[in-house]
Structure formats: structure tokens, C-alpha cells
């Protein structure tokens, strides 16, 4: 039965409709593979009982002819999404024991469409990290390894569990979130497809908040079509999130296979950062060549404030995080460490509950928002954000979509990067997209000299995810798909 786990969502959907197998058989195949793949540490909680129950309900709906768009499709859910009665702790010790009494809008949408939950996926603590090394539940292992090497590699982060699980075929697809690159960077590191939609496309209700003006959820999937199917179900207009935008959700799948003849593709010259590795540069040039061959027009553009996006992000994101994470005080939920008085209890609980990276970011955030520094740091960063968005607004008069590398390197080894600023540089190509609220997709486009997957990123106009799927599908067709050889 294990060949059932090799099916994409689109293929599994077909098989289920044709009654070639049942939803329960499909779910059982995944449960068996998850048990065999625990070495990857992608799942922190497995919910086989719930999965079987949901699969049986899917079979009943398939029999009745009332199947939803994701009927019987087994998914992994990032631990950042509230799932009623099931462990939801943002992979932090501070949320010890937390089981929400409500469901996030996004997971609610997925269950409405018939999807099956396999369990909760590992991630960097509170989504703060680029290598999945900050999780309270330990590192996630990338299914990919370098040629002729047994050394473990990181899957990227923060959605490292989502990316690893999708790449290892231990879920059909996964939910993920992206504040500075947390969907696109791990997707690129694992040869999977990840899309961060426009800010406001997916509801943030029930998603543990990191930096509210940047956070946006999206899927990680095996191919572009599956990502389109997932986003269609995840996206919605939600009265419970005031930043959810009142626009109907289009049929993203319909964009796949459309010709890109005449499409104007921008190549931002500022992304040719000093010291870009030759293999990343070659990958980027190859991507542009493929699109040109398919009829697109390649246009050099300028996004002059690109280099300031990352440092400005490391003011805005920690500032918002320090405010959002103020709620973890040991009173209403999570870890409580007693103290001499209530303030002592707060301080003890937060010191024991937050890991070093989260503490560092709360400290930075608290400092840049403190009296006397607010204008010099926070207000200046928000002004630079205006300039970054203005760069893109100007570019959209010349181009329809922008092509860049997704990451500056392929996956690296755990412990290889210990300096915080060096780690932050992983998001150098992705973070501008969050700062400007735009949609971005990472799609596998080649392999490194060591045989590791490399991704390209496409950036779109606000709410133009369709052009991203249309263009990414062309790259995918030219580049082919990537599957890690199974060693586990």
C-alpha cells in the first residue's frame, strides 16, 4: 500500500473519485510511513486515531457523492495552527500543555473541504528561525543529503517540519506560515513548492502570532498544482480577522498550463548581491532563459532599497514579537514557574519557557520600542518599509512578475551557522516580499554541485497569486520534480 503515499493530491483525488482505493486506505498508508520516518522528527504529535475517524467520514461522503475539494487527503499541520483539543504550542516550552478549545480558520477551511489531519508538525519556536534548530522538540532532519554523505542537513525554517514531511512523502501536503521566508526557504531546501500569499489572503485567526503585520499562512506541497489546490481551500474572507481582505478566492488551478507568452518578467539587479554563489547565479540565469524560451519578455528592473529590507525587518519583526509574546505570563495558559510574587512568577516563567533565540528577539524588540529609541529604530524602519513597497509599485508598471533566487545557498548542516546575523541572512531574498505584503512562491529549479535541491522565487503583484502559479508551473515543467532518495 505504500505506493499510495507517492501520489500527489491531484492524483489521489482522482483515485478516490474513481474508487481505486478508499480514504481510509490512503490514510493508513500515511500512518505506516510516518511511523517508519520518526528519525526525521518532522511530526511532534501524531494523531492516527483522529486521522482514521476523519478518513472514514470522508469515505462516507465520497460514497454519497458529497465529497469536498480535499476529500480524504491526509495533511500535516504546523504546530502554529490552533487545532481544537490537540497539542498547539508553537514548539515552545512556554505553551506547555496547551490544547486550544477552538479551531483556526485555516484548518477549519481544510476540514470543511474534507481533508484529514495526520498530526502536528515541528517548527522553529514561535516561527523564529531559518533552520528548525530552535524548536523545543529538537531539530528536524532534511530528507535530502549531500552526495556520498550521511551527514544530516537542516530542512530550513521556520516551517522545517512541514517541508521535511512533504519532501519525505509523510503527508500529502502541509500548512505552513511565512513571516520573513519561513515557507519559501524550507521549500527551497527540500525540493518542494511553497507559496506565501498576499498579506490578507489567508485568515490569521487561530494562528499563533509572531509579527502580525508580516505573518501570512500558506501551503507547502509536492508540486505547483498541489500548492494551488491547497491555497484555494486555505484562503478565505474571514470576519474574525480584520486584515482578511474582501476578495473572492479564485480557482488557482485554472492558471496552471496557461501560456506565458508576452509575460513581462523582472530581474532585479540589486539581487545580484556581492558574493552570490556561482551555482545560484547559474540557476537564476537558467530560470530566466526557460521563461524566455516559453515566450516571456525578460526585463531588468531596479529595487533600490532591497539591501535595507533585512535589517529593517529585524526591527519590525522583533518589535511586534515582543508585544505579541507579552501574553505568555504563566497566568492563563502554558508554563508557570512559581516566584516570590507575581512579577517574579512572570519573570521565572518567561525565562524558563522561551528559548535563547526567542529571548534575544524579545529583548531586541523591547529595546527598539523603549522610550527614546522608538523614533530612531521603529519609525525609521516603517519608513524604509514604505520605500521598499514603493520600489515594487514602480516595478509593476514595467513587469508582471519578478524572478529571483529563493535562498543564497542550499541546505546546510545543523550547527554550521551559530552567529545570529549570519542565520538571518538566509532570508535575504525572501524578506522584502513580507515587508511589502506581496505574494511569493518558491519552486524547485535545479540541484547544487552536491546534489541538493535549489529553488527559484517568483514575486507577484498584490492578490495576483494566479500569475505565480502560471509561471511557476512553467519552471517546474522545465526543471522537473525532485524526490529525496529514501535512506530512512
Amino acid at each position: 500500500m505504500s505506493n499510495l503515499t507517492s501520489l500527489t493530491i491531484a492524483k489521489a483525488r482522482e483515485g478516490l473519485r474513481r474508487k481505486e482505493f478508499s480514504a481510509l486506505e490512503l490514510t493508513e498508508a500515511y500512518i505506516a510511513e510516518i511511523e517508519k520516518s520518526r528519525i526525521l522528527n518532522a511530526y511532534i504529535v501524531e494523531t492516527p486515531g483522529k486521522a482514521r475517524e476523519m478518513a472514514k467520514a470522508s469515505d462516507a461522503r465520497l460514497a454519497k457523492g458529497t465529497a469536498g475539494a480535499l476529500e480524504g487527503i491526509p495533511l500535516g499541520i504546523k504546530d502554529l495552527f490552533a487545532t481544537k483539543g490537540v497539542h498547539t504550542q508553537a514548539c515552545s516550552h512556554v505553551l506547555d500543555g496547551f490544547k486550544p478549545t477552538y479551531e483556526s480558520t485555516i484548518t477549519e477551511n481544510l476540514w470543511r473541504d474534507g481533508a484529514v489531519m495526520l498530526g502536528k508538525l515541528n517548527m522553529d519556536e514561535f516561527a523564529m528561525g531559518s533552520s528548525n534548530e530552535t524548536s523545543y522538540y529538537g531539530n528536524v532532519i532534511n530528507p535530502w543529503r549531500r552526495h556520498n554523505s550521511n551527514a544530516a542537513l537542516v530542512p530550513g525554517g521556520s516551517s522545517g517540519g512541514s517541508a521535511s514531511a512533504v519532501a519525505a512523502h509523510i503527508c500529502a501536503a502541509a500548512t505552513a506560515t511565512d513571516t520573513g521566508g519561513s515557507i519559501r526557504q524550507p521549500a527551497a531546501f527540500t525540493g518542494t513548492v511553497g507559496i506565501k500569499p498576499t498579506y490578507g489572503r489567508c485568515s490569521r485567526w487561530g494562528v499563533v502570532a509572531f509579527a502580525s503585520s508580516l505573518d501570512q499562512a500558506g501551503p507547502i506541497a509536492r508540486d505547483v498544482r498541489d500548492a494551488a489546490i491547497m491555497l484555494k481551500s486555505m484562503a478565505s474572507v474571514d470576519p474574525k480577522d480584520t486584515t482578511s481582505v474582501d476578495l473572492p478566492v479564485p480557482d488557482y488551478e485554472a492558471a496552471i498550463g496557461k501560456s506565458i507568452k508576452g509575460l513581462r518578467v523582472g530581474i532585479p539587479k540589486e539581487y545580484r548581491a556581492d558574493g552570490m554563489s556561482p551555482e545560484i547565479e547559474t540557476l537564476w540565469n537558467t530560470g530566466a532563459k526557460w521563461l524566455k524560451e516559453q515566450g516571456a519578455e525578460i526585463v531588468e528592473i531596479s529595487l533600490p532599497h532591497t539591501k535595507y529590507a533585512l535589517p529593517a525587518y529585524y526591527i519590525v519583526a522583533p518589535a511586534e514579537a515582543s508585544s505579541n509574546l507579552a501574553r505568555y505570563d504563566g497566568v492563563r495558559y502554558g508554563l508557570r514557574v512559581p516566584g516570590n510574587d507575581i512579577v517574579d512568577m512572570y519573570e521565572n516563567s518567561r525565562a524558563a519557557g522561551f528559548g535563547p533565540e526567542v529571548q534575544r528577539r524579545i529583548m531586541i524588540g523591547t529595546y527598539v520600542l523603549s522610550a527614546g529609541y522608538y523614533d530612531a529604530y521603529y519609525v525609521r524602519a516603517q519608513k524604509i518599509r514604505t520605500l521598499i513597497k514603493r520600489d515594487f509599485d514602480k516595478a509593476w508598471s514595467k513587469v508582471d512578475v519578478v524572478l529571483t533566487p529563493a535562498t543564497p545557498s542550499p541546505a546546510f548542516a545543523p550547527g554550521e551557522i551559530s552567529d545570529p546575523v549570519q542565520m538571518y541572512l538566509n532570508d535575504i531574498f525572501t524578506v522584502t516580499v513580507n515587508m511589502a505584503g506581496l505574494p511569493g512562491i518558491a519552486v524547485p529549479a535545479g540541484v547544487s554541485k552536491d546534489g541538493l535541491p535549489l529553488g527559484l522565487q517568483l514575486i507577484g503583484k498584490p492578490f495576483d497569486e494566479e500569475t505565480l502559479f502560471q509561471t511557476a508551473a512553467v519552471i517546474e515543467q522545465m526543471a522537473g520534480s525532485y524526490k529525496a532518495p529514501q535512506w530512512w
Binding site: 508554563l335 523591547t366 545570529p420
Partner: protein, 95 residues
């Protein structure tokens, strides 16, 4: 701008995180390396630029001022580390 050890202690106090004395020097170094890196933002001329308040140009949605949720105190306190009846329990704050 850079922080000294007294500032590190003050910021930790503001953030309600108890610092171990042996970590103060390490944090001082880490915060300063991040703050120095951020300093490149001072190169940018931001004269007359409005700070961003929203990435998408939409009007703030208003909702009717109605009670649409609630009346389940048991669920609200369900995850509390300490509770009595439907109240959160905390150490004594008023003498």
C-alpha cells in the same frame, strides 16, 4: 547605538525575563552585533516618507457592536495552570 550591561538588565526587566548573571555579557555581545548590523539603515534618506501602517491599501473593516461570542467561562480557563471555579489563580498581588 550600542547597549551596555546595565541596559541589558533594564531591557530584560521591561521584557519580564529573568536573566542569569552569567548570561548578561553574552547577551550584551549578541544584541550589539545585531544593533550594529541594523545601523546601516541610517544611510537611507527618509525625509518626508510616511511610516507604513498597512501593506495592503484597504479600509479598516468595521463590525456591528454586538455580542456574538462568549458565555463559556469553563473553556476560557480550561488551560489555566491554576484556577478555582471559573477564575485564574495568581499569587497575592494586594496586601
Amino acid at each position: 547605538m550600542s547597549v551596555d550591561q546595565a541596559t541589558v538588565r533594564r531591557v530584560a526587566k521591561l521584557a519580564r525575563i529573568k536573566l542569569k548573571e552569567e548570561n548578561v555579557a553574552r547577551l550584551e555581545g549578541e544584541l550589539n552585533s545585531i544593533l550594529h548590523w541594523i545601523e546601516q539603515l541610517n544611510e537611507v534618506d527618509v525625509t518626508g516618507v510616511e511610516p507604513m501602517t498597512s501593506v495592503v491599501s484597504v479600509k479598516m473593516k468595521m463590525r456591528k457592536d454586538l455580542v456574538t461570542d462568549g458565555s463559556y467561562p469553563g473553556e476560557v480557563v480550561a488551560n489555566a495552570p491554576a484556577k478555582e471555579d471559573d477564575y485564574f489563580l495568581v499569587p497575592k498581588v494586594i496586601e
